[in-house]
């Protein structure tokens, strides 16, 4: 069952080959068997998963099932789930049982998808390696000594190891695309505003966007269609019609104009990764696409701008975590200031504290103009670079990350070095564009992801482009051997 696409699973459920309860139990068993090695889940919700699966089976029997009814999924532990711990990977929220559902969760519940559990992540989505979780490092299923990428590393590892057919993620600076690339799966971060942020614990509000991991573009298209749409609870969500992202997957790519930003192929990019990307692009040329070199001249400024804007927003967003109404509270505070300082100081991890302080400083009197305002101006320049490029090309392609997955601990003492690895993903968030990663190669048994960046609300076209590649390649079907053992009898 773990090798099947969502539409195959849906067909089997409909035909009665197995029930949603059986399917859900199958994945719960896999989680049970493999999670210890991966540490991909923070919470497994077997009971509620099975009861939802039962309800889905009733719907299927009644003939009122939709395209996703009965297919289980996992949520990044940043989406609030009513009655279930929602920790955001932090000690601060270790005891936080969310009293409401995120809009994404509501929508996917509506679609009939049982929740298997909540996946591990970098604390408050701050990180590129999943080493910043209160619940410990997540391992890459391709090499357990390596990072799975971050911050949605738990979701990526879960899908890569086929512990869940699909999983949600969030992407503030690459947190869906980069782990998707590192674990050899498909992940899409839609246009800012496409997916409601209500109930998605905020890291940097103007950059955060929810999305999905799957083993193929086809699977991602199905789930993204179900989770997208305007939400009156999110003022920044877009009042923009949501097409059926599955409908255009089969469109021809003849005449497609693909832009390759020269800045994405300069110094710093691993030679083997570069070669893999060039080969994938060659495959597109064969499918009839035209390849055009473009320039995104402000790319080098994206990292400095991002590491001012995102911390500035996070420093304010995380102020609500004060130990008053929920969350961690220190013991025996001697006064109010002590209460605040120790509750926050004891509960936040090293990287979260670092970013809060960077943001606090960047917004403080005397520094606001030099840092925050300057970064927002650069943000416009970066966004304009993209708009200029989209005058001549349909999509932009390039690497997701300069390297394949690195070893756990390799960069933990070098925050700036870690930040620099976000070079190809971060500009997209500053501009609010949709982008995705699909697996296109394996270097030393480690996956390489190709990034597709689209213009605003062009997710359908991007998924079509990714799907066409997956028709002529089997990279997306590769499963790390240790996790490909099927259950007896299947």
């Amino acid at each position: 069952m773990h090798t099947k696409s969502l539409s195959e699973l849906a067909a089997d459920l409909k035909s009665g080959a197995y029930s949603s309860v059986e399917l859900t139990q199958y994945f719960l068993d896999r989680i049970n068997r493999y999670n210890t090695a991966l540490n991909a889940f923070i919470t497994v919700t077997d009971e509620s998963a099975l009861s939802r699966a039962k309800a889905a089976d009733e719907q299927i029997a009644a003939g009122s099932a939709g395209a996703l009814t009965g297919i289980p999924l996992a949520y990044k532990d940043i989406f609030c789930t009513d009655g279930v711990r929602t920790s955001a990977g932090s000690k601060m929220l270790d005891n936080f049982i969310a009293p409401y559902n995120a809009t994404v969760v509501e929508k996917l519940n509506q679609a009939g998808m049982p929740m298997l559990g909540k996946t591990n992540m970098d604390e408050f989505a701050m990180g590129s390696s999943n080493e910043n979780s209160y619940y410990g490092v997540v391992k890459n299923p391709w090499d357990l000594a390596r990072i799975p990428g971050g911050s949605s590393g738990g979701s990526a590892a879960t899908v890569a190891a086929r512990l869940s057919p699909v999983a949600t993620g969030t992407d503030t600076g690459g947190s869906i695309r980069q782990p998707a690339a590192m674990t050899g799966i498909t992940g899409i971060k839609p246009t800012y505003g496409r997916v409601s942020r209500f109930g998605m614990i905020a890291y940097a509000s103007s950059l955060d966007q929810g999305g999905v991991f799957g083993t193929s573009a086809e699977d991602c298209a199905l789930v993204l269609t179900a989770m997208s749409g305007f939400d009156e609870k999110d003022s920044t969500s877009a009042e923009h019609a949501v097409p059926d992202f599955s409908a255009s997957l089969k469109d021809s790519l003849a005449g497609l104009k693909i832009g390759l930003p020269k800045e994405y192929f300069e110094e710093g990019l691993d030679a083997q990764v570069e070669k893999s990307i060039q080969e994938a692009i060659e495959a597109y040329r064969k499918m009839g696409a035209e390849i055009i070199e473009i320039s995104l001249p402000n790319t080098p400024l994206a990292i400095p701008a991002y590491y001012v804007v995102a911390p500035a927003e996070c420093s304010s967003n995380l102020s609500r975590l004060d130990g008053v109404r929920y969350g961690y509270r220190c013991e025996n505070a001697k006064d109010l200031t002590d209460h605040y300082m120790r509750s926050r100081g004891e509960a936040f991890g090293v990287e979260v504290k670092r970013r809060i302080m960077v943001g606090t400083y960047a917004l403080s009197a005397g520094y606001y103009d030099a840092y925050y305002l300057k970064a927002q101006q650069i943000r416009r320049l970066i966004s304009e670079d993209f708009q200029k490029a989209f005058e001549t090309v349909d999509v932009i392609m390039g690497p997701v990350a300069p390297n394949t997955a690195f070893k756990i601990g390799e960069k933990s003492d070098d925050p700036v070095g870690m930040y620099l690895s976000d070079i190809y993903t971060i500009s997209v968030n500053l501009a609010g564009l949709p982008a995705m990663s699909l697996p296109v190669a394996s270097v030393n048994n480690l996956p390489v992801g190709l990034q597709i960046i689209g213009n605003y609300f062009d997710e359908a076209k991007m998924l079509n482009i990714a799907h066409q590649y997956q028709q002529v390649s089997d990279h997306h079907q590769q499963i790390p051997t240790a996790f490909d053992v099927t259950r007896g009898g299947e």
Binding site: C80, M200, S206, R320, L363, A365
Partner: protein
Amino acid sequence: MEWETVIGLEIHAQLMTQSKIFSGSSIAYGAEPNTQANVVDLALPGVLPVLNVEAVRMAVKFGLGINAPVSQRSVFARKNYFYPDLPQGYQISQFDLPIVEKGHIDILLDDGGVKCIGITRAHLEQDAGKSLHEDFAGMTGIDLNRAGTPLLEIVSEPDMSNAKEAVAYMKKIHALVQYLEICDGNLQEGSFRCDANVSVRPKGQKELGTRAELKNINSFRFVERAINIEVQRQIDIIEEGGTVVQETRLFDPDKDETRSMRSKEEANDYRYFPDPDLLPVRISDDFIEAIRATLPELPEAKKQRFITRYGLSDYDAEVLTSHRALSDYYDQVARESNQAKLAANWVMGNLSGALNKANLEIKASPISAKQLADMIKRIADNTISGKIAKDVFEAIWQGEGDADGIIEKKGLKQITDTGAIEGMIDEIIANNPQQVEMFRSGKEKILGFFVGQVMKASRGKANPAQVNQLLREKLKG
């Protein structure tokens, strides 16, 4: 040394919406603690604000009321600071681009002159919750029902030069927000609050002195007292060679002093920046014009109408338009009685006095505008004298019916029958020969005695003008 005082006010008017500015919780006053605080008000992780259209409408109304331009594009910003009654760790307010820009309002000075007070800006923001400092086993309690209540913060220019002007300005704004029906003006419940920035400088000096901010003064009387005390405190400091420090001070009405609030552990650095959860608010001309069309007659226009149409003095018109309900009441009495002057005297005199004594609002007046107008008509057509009218007024107040019924039932109708009055006069002249002699010898003051006797004999019902005239004729012999 002669000193000059400079005062600017920041008024927080709670807007009369149904729900909070960014959430669907009720803002009703007096609910059980924390029963009107939902996920957004509690700032749970993941929640987002959505702006209430009515709060925007009310802010626009205010802008129109002070002849200020309404910003076509305004921006919400976060003001960051930690305080337990501020659940988000920041207040959503406006900084660079407030919804209402520069406007002004006129106040009437004691000497009868008019002063124009500038209004720097008015912006929308959310209120904080309440800290309850009663002891809960050594802890402080937090109630977040008020958190997220919409406020309009109205910031004046430092245009006021004494406490009286500050009070006059505050009353003007208080009247205006009630006319506009955007704030109930309830000072006790805190729906209308005032902070005063006060500084002094030697007369003639250009630059401003260091100011102190007096926080949350919740009555007109206290504003005046707090400012006067603070001004004296600052003058004393400077005259003794000290310097005033910029700080926030609390007025203590019991001790009649202002005192420094617990010194902040660090200088405030609010780190304002545009709230990334909210987009710029764009206000179209159509939106503004639709609101303009619903505006009531505003105090200034009403005052001018009272002066020109009813011939009232500037002062009377000012008083009668100081509250919307009062002005509406007067307007009706004046119109229905067709006796604008008499109506003004009765409304500002007996009626206001009686209401004050009974501690009643004009809306709760036991005498309706129609009843008062009917009574005034009877004064005007000489059915009753002004003096008898006081008894009639009292009877209406006590719920004994309308003026005509009371006059009839109690036989209070004025005696205007010349024959009847002459009969009384003749009898009194016959009984008081000595006084008659005095009058005739030139002591005309004694006339008052005779008038009194006649009024007594008629039990107040004789028409005083007639009595005067007939007495003079008869006494001259």
